[in-house]
């Protein structure tokens, strides 16, 4: 990789901001809006979240109560628009209620990991040599494991359940976020305004919270948003293995697992929960990609 040489003739972002009539986030939104795929993705996600929240209004069926006489009805059956599962429970109701837990178990780990990872990363980047090196070497060890495997091993020893699945995924996501936060911090720390804040007597805490965090926010936010899709797939994967949400609780991964035995009877119905995991994951990934471009953040690709 080659570093681009900064040319003094090119106006810097700061001077643009002075001239432009809109705020920085207005500009970001303008750029975001131009990507039709991203707008559609945002729409899909809003729709899923609203439907999950309004589940009781959208269906009168109980997601837990089935009718054995009407097992595995196909899609389009009157009264069961998306069919029924292996216990005769309405699929639409289960998918809608299931969205709540699937989204929660996927988004919460990224949220928690972002807070903790940012704290670790900024402190390591700011504290510099010894503390920074020690913290980051500890984080590095986690890179020796494929992330999902580490989560599986952790839930295996903690015991199955949604809370443990969230805990394990949070821990798995902390090191990569800490690494992004640390490298962003190290770039900011050498800037003159940080030096100025220090010289004018601001405490370390104040410098980090007031000067540093607002400036490292974008790269961390973009990176974390890229983890949400992965996290939702992983959380449902854990449930699919029986390590997350347990039956009869509606959750997309657990539903796919319990339906799998009916694969030869009602294949389209069996494919439904996975389809929703897929759509949500794609939507989050598209969104994150566009955000990266709109916020103009470079070098935060997910691995």
């Amino acid at each position: 990789m080659q570093d681009t040489i900064p040319l003094t003739l090119v106006p810097s972002r700061e001077s643009e901001a002075v001239v432009a009539p809109h705020s920085y986030y207005d500009e970001v939104w303008q750029r975001f809006r131009q990507d039709r795929t991203a707008v559609v993705s945002l729409g899909v996600l809003v729709l899923i979240v609203v439907c999950a929240a309004a589940a009781p209004l959208l269906t009168s069926h109980d997601p837990l109560q089935g009718d054995i006489a009407h097992r595995l009805l196909s899609i389009g059956t009157a009264g069961h628009i998306l069919g029924t599962d292996e216990q005769g429970r309405d699929m639409l109701a289960r998918l809608l209620y299931g969205a709540r837990l699937s989204l929660l178990a996927g988004i919460v780990p990224v949220f928690l990991a972002t807070i903790i990872g940012t704290a670790i990363g900024t402190v390591s980047g700011y504290a510099g040599r010894v503390i920074g090196a020690v913290l980051m070497r500890i984080m590095d060890v986690c890179y020796a494991f494929p992330a999902i495997l580490l989560a599986i091993a952790m839930v295996a020893s903690l015991g199955a359940g949604v809370a443990n699945s969230i805990l394990a995924l949070s821990i798995v996501f902390i090191p990569p976020i800490a690494r992004v936060a640390e490298s962003a911090t190290r770039q900011i720390v050498v800037q003159e305004y940080i030096e100025a804040a220090r010289v004018s007597g601001a405490s370390t805490f104040l410098v980090i919270v007031d000067q540093l965090l607002p400036n490292v926010f974008s790269p961390i936010f973009v990176y974390a948003s890229g983890l949400v899709g992965l996290s939702i797939v992983a959380a449902s994967g854990l449930s699919y293995l029986g390590l997350g949400a347990a039956p009869p609780t509606p959750e997309w991964g657990a539903m796919l697992n319990s339906l799998q035995a009916s694969i030869y009877v009602q294949p389209v119905v069996v494919a439904l929960p996975g389809f929703f995991i897929f759509v949500t994951s794609v939507a989050f990934n598209v969104l994150s990609n566009t955000l990266r471009d709109a916020l103009d953040v470079k070098g935060t690709t997910r691995n």
Binding site: M1, Q2, R137, I138, D140, V141, C142, A144, F145, P146, I148, L149, I152, A153, M154, A156, S157, L158, G159, G229, V233, S236, G237, Y240, L241, G242, L243, G253, L256, Q260, I263, Y264, P267, V270, A271, G274, F275, I277, F278, S281, V282, N285, V286, N289, T301, N303
Partner: protein, 314 residues
Amino acid sequence: MLAVIGKRLAMAVPSLFGVSIVIFLLLNVLPGDPLAGLLAPDATPADRAALAKQLGLDAPLPVQYVTWLTKLAHGDLGQSFSRQRPVAELVGTAFTNTLVLALAAAALGLTIGMTMGIIAALRTGSPVDQLISILSMMGLSVPSYWLAVLLIIIFSATLRWLPSAGMHGINGGTIDFLKHLIMPAIATSAVTVGMVAKTTRASLIETFGHDFVLTLRAKGLSGWRVLEHVVKNAAPPIMTMAGLQVGYLLGGSVLVETIFSWPGLGQLIFQSIQSRDLRVTQAAVLVIAVTFVLTNLAVDILQTLVNPQLRRAG
């Protein structure tokens, strides 16, 4: 150059120690009773203490760790609780099966991914480029377990072309073996296709923007010769990504292997978790992590050998 490689090798040592500590702590310190699956339901506290002593679980943790590590260094992974066979044997067989699946998936993923990335980079902005972008986005977003179930629905349940489970090794004949291999290989390679295509496209486009490309064109080199130079310069990030992906694939996929009953490390981990056979889980996770570290090490060294810029960077 040797110094750079030596430095990289030395860096892998603490990494491996870290791995061993994490795995040891993960399965020994976290809540969850290692004796739960071994004791009879009516066992007395005395039985419990006796068994703990017999397995060395009453010693202080650092002592247990050193004992475990020493045995490990001698290739002694202990005996499986539930299967009554040496852990090393179970893990060894599973590793071979995972290796076969990983190599098939890697071959598939790298070939398709790079081809897609190159085509997209040569036709930037065209409908083909857009289609490839959509496909690679789908590839890296799709849950492997859902893709696996979809493949079974299409090729096993509907078309009845391919078996959904029951790999017996190479003994069943090459054709039979390949029939069992193809669906798990596709399911595990989707992410690789997506990541490699994306990286290849981005790296090629970035390299095409460099001044030397203009110089080569001005000198009158043909399109193919220019591409040759561009590919050479665009290679490092693609190689890093490819290496990372091969590392992931070698880790086996717990989900895909379980769905297709592929007798690899992933399935072994799942089964040993279910039977609470912690020694097997521990050993299998360890093998995967060590393979992962070594694969990354190999890629880094290969990079140093190939890329002259990195040779001096020690």
